[in-house]
């Protein structure tokens, strides 16, 4: 809301400049901004709770007088002189007493409608309002001055009296800005016997609008319940100064102040004659007294405070303190509990003058979630392995939810937003892979190779049944690689043709990353069978799942369909954290030397290395410590076969093995390989 500095100064006269006031408000009251000229602004958000007492020139002046210790001139103390002893011709009937706690109306005659005096126009202009005529301007001015929205009807257009009721379904009204609204029962209206005259608390109607011909008025000062106005204003998409004010829960005590002030000004400026006010206020706002609990105030702030100081600060703000009870001014409906009082005290003690005192800290719970520690370990490991971290959006397009094998995470269906920002961001990501794939492509314009990872949440419906949904979110680690050349892995892929190399290179590097990472984290007993899950992201037969010994699936690794040199991995971090059970334990290092044996063989092209490794394991040879693939070579001259070289490391814990013993074991392995996969030794 915008304020006129000169008007504030009229109510709180003193030797302070506008800059002093802006600084003072920021230090002691709430955010204020100097907009130049006579204007200063206080954002509604910073006074959202105390709108009733702060969204007005008087409210700001009250703060100013407390800050600068000046006199406070209260224009609402002046009562109007009524020209008649009765209330005139109108009655007020509130049908909805919850939505309208108070309604007052005054019949005013002999009004000379015309232009406003200059001072009035100036205030309106400073606050961003347009001058219409003196009557409408007075209504607006009083709202700016006191904070109570008012409305004036042309009394000749009001038939019988005022009824505050819900609109009938389908009832129509044209507002003063020439917009037509079709109303429903949700909306409260101010009506006469025949028709709705205004949308209550939001906007006046065209029919009973004050014009230059108007001579008699019905002045309304009323209170409407905040939630109702807020909902209606949203529903009608109609936000006005009045609706904003009422939405913030104004005190019904403002009603009388606003009415009296309007009547005084109508007499002064328009030469009006006034009848007595009809004021329907069935349930008065209760007077709230708060116990002056000095120890609690001290406990919140953290310093000793004298009772006299508390009383002095509170009385500057028009609070009453008697013995042990504090009563806030009626319009301060934000003061409910002792904490609210403590805020009044501490802000005028100046937050910045508080000492900084080291707290007494309790040890004991000082713990760290496992997931935090493991996340940190993974990040460090991947960085050291040459992978950079990216952050991507949590939002994704519908098409992209169809790419990855999100079923790995138990996700059956993706989740959409009710109010997406755009089509590209209409769903919650069910996998990190689509953005990682995009990151690869974007970065390839500048880099030969790209290695990236992300740790973030994915979302999905994990319910088996359609119709019954279970929203689930999971922390996931995603890694992606694009590598044109085989990474330096010795002779592993040395002679094969280009395309194949890249694919296998990226993919195999990710497999190696998993091996290294898992052993680094202390994870044991996992294997990587074929993925066998439908998806549109990965090469058919180019993906594996990462499965634990108990067959729970941690994630997958696969070659990207879209880019032949790319590969991607995703891991369910929640399951990963759970799977890490074992601490590393030292194993005695054997004192006896190990013996290596290399075996080279030709096997049919469709025999997979994994199968051969499985066979070697299944022979359960004694003393085999490790088996490694040393060389992998495909060539036409082998006629549909490929050449494999394995290194088998033999080791005993209790003795030095002899060549004879080792060769006996090796023969056993070779025999089985010949039987099962038709291996030809080379």
């Amino acid at each position: 809301m915008k304020f006129s500095f000169s008007l504030i100064k009229k109510f709180a006269p003193g030797k302070y400049s506008k800059a002093d006031l802006v600084e003072g408000l920021n230090t002691y009251s709430f955010e204020a901004v100097d907009l130049g000229g006579d204007i200063l602004e206080v954002p509604n958000t910073s006074i959202a709770r105390r709108f009733s007492s702060a969204a007005s020139h008087l409210g700001i002046a009250r703060e100013a007088s407390a800050i600068f210790d000046t006199e406070f001139i209260d224009p609402t103390l002046k009562n109007p002189k009524f020209d008649f002893k009765d209330k005139g011709i109108f009655k007020v009937n509130i049908k909805e007493k919850v939505l309208c706690p108070r309604y007052s109306a005054t019949y005013v005659t002999d009004v000379k409608v015309g232009p406003s005096p200059e001072w009035l126009k100036d205030v309106l202009e400073t606050s961003g309002l347009r001058s219409i005529n003196n009557v409408v301007d007075i209504m607006n001015y009083v709202m700016l001055e006191i904070g109570q929205p008012l409305h004036a009807f042309d009394a000749d257009k009001v038939k019988g009296g005022i009824i505050v009721r819900r609109a009938k379904n389908g009832e129509e009204i044209e507002t003063i800005d020439n917009n037509k609204f079709k109303l429903s029962e949700d909306t409260l209206v101010i009506a006469d016997e025949d028709r709705p005259l205004a949308i209550a608390g939001i906007k006046g109607g065209k029919y009973s609008e004050v014009s230059l011909k108007t001579n008699r008025l019905l002045v309304e000062s009323a209170n409407f319940e905040g939630v109702g106005i807020y909902k209606n204003s949203k529903k009608l998409n109609l936000r006005t100064d009045a609706s904003i004010a009422f939405s913030h829960n104004l005190s019904p005590e403002l009603v009388g102040l606003g009415m009296n002030r309007a009547l005084v000004l109508l007499k002064e400026i328009c030469g009006a004659k006034i009848y007595k006010t009809e004021d329907v206020y069935p349930k008065k706002q209760p007077k709230r007294a708060i116990k002056l609990d000095l120890p609690k105030i001290e406990r919140i702030i953290g310093i000793k405070i004298k009772r006299s100081e508390v009383v002095s600060i509170l009385s500057k703000l028009d609070f009453k303190v008697s013995k042990n009870l504090i009563t806030a001014p009626a319009i301060r409906n934000d003061i409910e509990i002792i904490e609210d009082v403590a805020e009044e005290i501490v802000r005028f003690k100046n937050f910045n003058k508080l000492p900084a005192v080291s707290p007494k800290i309790s040890l004991g719970i000082g713990a760290e979630d496992d997931s935090v520690i493991i996340r940190d370990k993974i990040r460090k490991y991947l960085c050291a392995a040459g992978y950079s971290e990216v952050y991507n959006y949590s939002f994704i397009s519908k098409e992209k939810t169809d790419l990855a094998p999100a079923e790995v995470f138990g996700i059956k269906r993706p989740i959409s937003l009710a109010n997406p920002l755009s089509v590209d961001f209409a769903y919650l990501r069910n996998s990190l892979a689509p953005y990682l794939e995009k990151n690869l492509n974007d970065n390839l314009r500048f880099y030969e190779e790209v290695r990236i990872f992300e740790i973030g949440r994915v979302f999905g419906d994990t319910s088996e049944q359609k119709g019954v949904s279970k929203i689930s979110e999971k922390p996931v680690l995603g890694i992606a690689i694009y590598a044109k050349d085989p990474p330096s892995q010795g002779s592993l892929l040395r002679k094969a043709s280009d395309g194949q190399v890249g694919r296998a290179g990226g993919f195999l590097e990710l497999k190696g990353i998993v091996d290294g990472l898992f052993s680094n984290l202390g994870l044991v007993d996992w294997f990587m069978p074929d993925l066998n899950l439908k998806n549109n992201l990965l090469e058919d037969n180019g993906a594996v799942r990462i499965e634990m010994g108990d067959h729970s699936v941690l994630g997958y690794i696969g070659v990207l369909k879209s880019s032949k040199n790319g590969a991607v991995l995703e891991l369910d971090m929640e399951r990963l954290v759970k799977a890490i059970v074992e601490e590393k334990e030292y194993e005695p290092i054997s004192k006896f030397p190990s013996i290596d044996r290399d075996i080279s063989m030709l096997v049919a092209s469709d025999i997979r290395v994994g199968d051969i490794l499985d066979i070697i394991q299944s022979v359960e040879p004694e003393h085999v410590d490790d088996v490694d693939l040393m060389d992998f070579y495909e060539d036409e001259k082998f006629g549909g076969k490929k050449s494999l070289t394995f290194r088998i490391v033999f080791q005993a814990k209790d003795k030095t093995l002899t060549d004879v013993e080792v060769d006996k074991e090796l023969q056993k392995i070779i025999k089985v390989l010949i039987e099962k996969v038709g291996a030809e030794l080379r």
């Binding site: 709430f30 802000r347 000492p355 971290e389 109010n419 500048f446």
Partner: protein, 358 residues
């Protein structure tokens, strides 16, 4: 003969001195000291000499042999050391070690967490990003149909009948009843974790919770639809505003690695009372005024305050017994200030030219 030895000595010494490389040094060695070398010839011819001559010439030739041996060896070492020096140009650039880079937001989060860890705060994993109205708003004293909710532009999930699995796992029967049938949303701040933590833990404690949050708003250089916050909550019997002031002063001083003035201004957030806006002295100009701080010398950095009694109650605490402070810090804001990053959208670009700078 004596003269001949002197002559050999002069000649050999000269040749060794002027010798240009290892190869010619080897030739010199063979020429003088080899089996058929000049010195050997002299020694072999000793038999023809008189005893007197033998006694003089023999030792003299032998000592020349030793002398030349040393000279040649020295010369050889000179060549070898020169050779190895020539083979390494130490001014060449070092070998590029390929390591990855952490995202700047991770680096900032780690720094922030490390500071709080050193002050005995517990680090709690982020909590659910999909939340219910209850935890995101109601429990935090942000009433329904009140303009205060407008400060939180919210993304809502499509189907409001959906069940949050996090809750069925984590919450007790009575807690579940609070969120049953509630609309789901993407949390607009990390503050729901205040409630969730209080519900399941007893005071006193002090925690920090990093996590991703969401706002429904148009993106520009300083606004993103998802961003990261760190929530801080400390609760005890008499945790007060002076303690809060101590913690944040210490925190910002360590974070920006210099003594920074911190300014506290009264402000309004529904979940705190008293509520505060925290400014720090501009990290760029030190308070003189520049384009970063819009000439004010101060930077708005976060909202904070004493936890509102209604929030403590929602967490299951008696506000007459316990009190505490809370604040929420935006990681992007801190990273942008610390690293002088002009546009928040760069964090979510996945651009390695950006990330690899950190």
């Amino acid at each position: 003969m004596n003269k001949k030895i002197d002559e050999i000595k002069n000649r050999a010494e000269g040749e060794i001195k002027n010798c240009a490389d290892l190869k010619s040094l080897e030739d010199i060695k063979i020429k003088y000291l080899g089996r058929k070398g000049e010195l050997n010839q002299i020694l072999r011819s000793l038999g023809d000499l008189s005893l007197e001559e033998k006694k003089v010439i023999g030792p003299k030739a032998q000592s020349l042999r030793n002398e030349l041996d040393v000279l040649i060896e020295n010369k050889k070492n000179e060549f070898l050391s020169k050779k190895s020096r020539n083979s390494l140009d130490v001014t060449r650039p070092g070998k590029k070690i390929k390591i990855g880079h952490l995202h700047p937001l991770t680096i900032i989060e780690n720094e922030i967490i490390d500071i709080f860890r050193s002050m005995s705060f517990s680090i709690i994993d982020g909590g659910p990003e999909v939340e219910t109205e209850y935890y995101n708003f109601d429990a935090l004293n942000i009433p329904k149909n009140h303009p205060a909710r407008e400060m939180h532009d919210t993304f809502w999930l499509q189907d409001n009948q959906k069940q949050l699995t996090h809750d069925t796992k984590q919450l007790t029967e009575s807690q579940r009843s609070k969120v049953k049938g509630q609309k789901l949303l993407l949390r607009t701040h990390t503050s729901p974790m205040q409630i969730r933590y209080m519900e399941t833990h007893k005071p006193p404690f002090q925690i920090v919770v990093p996590g991703r949050v969401f706002r429904y708003e148009a993106t520009d250089a300083s606004h993103e639809i998802n961003f990261n916050q760190i929530e801080c909550l400390m609760v005890g019997k008499d945790v007060n505003l002076t303690n809060f002031k101590y913690i944040i002063q210490e925190f910002f001083t360590r974070l920006f690695k210099k003594k920074l003035e911190v300014r506290l201004r009264p402000s309004y957030f529904p979940f705190v009372e008293p509520g505060l806006e925290i400014d720090i002295q501009c990290v760029k100009c030190g308070g003189k005024g520049c384009n970063i701080c819009k000439e004010s010398g101060w930077l708005e950095i976060m909202g904070a305050g004493m936890v509102h009694p209604n929030v403590l109650k929602a967490g299951g605490y008696d506000p007459r017994e316990y009190q505490g402070f809370a604040f929420g810090l935006g990681c992007e804001r801190v990273a942008m200030l610390k690293y002088n990053i002009p546009d928040i959208r760069m964090f979510y670009s996945g651009d390695l030219k950006f990330i690899n700078q950190f």
